[in-house]
């Protein structure tokens, strides 16, 4: 989607939204005042969604790079195999099931409830963060591995000829260059992660989706909460698209000279 976020575009969208909202109000009797009434709790929910997204993306990012290097270099074959299996399992199964496994599964074990980790696994917040981070790490690892494999031979030879050690070649030359190549796909991963945080709403957390579910249950309505949540998610998605564009501008600015 190519969108120029000018002011007139923005006002046009808001205008269309208001028209559609009034239309729905008078034709189907949707009660928008409920949403305006619940605005403060919506703000908290949005903050929780943003928080979950950023924390899981950050942890996933940190885990993903060493794994991607391991899988791209394949120097220690057995470690690379383990990393392959990790990525296949986390990319091949629904995130929902992974979260259930961590929250209901691990949290329901006897030994877990007696161990020192229990305060972490009792709290849905930490369960969700662990699940999301591991999942995001697997997806990001696949993206980064593609970027690492996709070129970089010349860069690495140049770095080696300058006498950099292997560690420095990897982390100071290969990884930054690959990060620039991986940026467009990583932007998509950011959007997907933000969308996946909706799953946290299923295990009692009140982020945007959980908030919508609560509203629908509390006032016994079908559409209002979910439509408000959809609008919030679309706004967040557009914001992330803009952020990833800015990141591309920042990291790829050297290429435009």
């Amino acid at each position: 989607m190519k969108v120029q976020l000018t002011r007139s575009w923005f006002f046009n969208r808001v205008f269309q939204l208001v028209i559609l909202g009034l239309f729905a109000k008078f034709l189907f009797g949707l009660k928008w005042h409920l949403i305006f009434q619940e605005m403060p709790s919506l703000a908290e929910a949005v903050w929780l969604t943003i928080q979950l997204t950023i924390i899981s993306l950050a942890i996933g990012f940190i885990i993903a790079w060493p794994l991607a290097l391991l899988r791209a270099k394949r120097k220690k074959e057995w470690l690379a195999k383990i990393a392959d299996a990790y990525v296949a399992v986390f990319r091949g199964t629904p995130l929902l099931v992974q979260i259930f496994l961590i929250y209901f599964g691990l949290g329901g074990q006897q030994w877990m409830q007696e161990s020192f980790l229990w305060p972490i696994f009792r709290d849905p917040y930490w369960c969700v963060i662990i699940g999301f981070s591991l999942n995001s790490a697997a997806y990001a690892c696949e993206i980064f591995r593609g970027a690492l494999m996709n070129g970089g031979a010349g860069e690495r030879e140049a770095a080696q000829s300058l006498g950099l050690s292997e560690f420095k070649t990897d982390w100071l030359v290969w990884v930054p260059a690959s990060w620039r190549r991986a940026l467009p796909q990583y932007g998509n991963e950011m959007i997907f992660m933000m969308h996946s945080t909706a799953i946290a709403g299923l295990i009692t957390m009140t982020e945007v989706f959980g908030w919508a579910k609560d509203i629908n249950g509390k006032f016994y309505v079908t559409y209002e909460g979910l439509i408000a949540a959809s609008i919030v998610y679309i706004v967040l998605t557009t914001t992330i698209i803009q952020i990833s564009k800015l990141m591309e501008k920042h990291y790829l600015s050297y290429m435009k000279r």
Binding site: F28, V89, G92, P94, V97, F100, A198, F209, A229, Y233
Partner: protein
Amino acid sequence: MNIVLEYLPILLKASLLTVSLAVCSLFLATLLGALGAKGKLSKEKYGREYANAYTAIIRGIPDLVLILLIYFGFQKMLNVVTEGLGLGIYSISPFWAGVLAIGFIYGAYLTETFRGAYNSVPQGQKEAAMSLGLSSYRRFIKVVLPQLIRHALPGYGNVFQVLIKSTAVVGVLGLNDLVGLAKDAGQSVRMPFTFNAFTLFMYLIFYFFASWVFRLLERRYAEKGHRS
């Protein structure tokens, strides 16, 4: 472990339900995707605008929210319509509601795949077919479509992998598919870990099976002479 063996027949039946849900919604998504791609590529302004709005809105909302919205919203809308027409209440089963929701969502993703594939068929091929005097229908079926399938298959396979994974969400809404059943059964016999691990394992099997099938298909539709 014995308890899982006792539950195994039901769980396998439930995973069959999951698979049929995925296949039915893939069918619907393919239809909608073809329609959307047709709209996006058409010269008419409204076709383009509706298709753009469809993909932009669907891709901006998490599937969980959309599935819930369609799952509950569609039934309520149907009730309004049938009441207005003076017909009795017609309730759609959770299975078909799920098919409708997932097909509608992934139609938007397939629209983009098909549009990209159509654009990557070289213009010269279409022109050559035109110069041979083929009608527009035969031009599409005989010349463009085989090449379009070749370009679309990798993206189509990826979308199908994501689609299978999102069928997990429908189980939460009350359909007794693999996820829903395993969650309920796991809680009732107090072995949530084992049952959810079984679900994970089944989804892993689906994942590997689907990627195998799509690898075969890609080889089938690969350019002749480059077949490995």
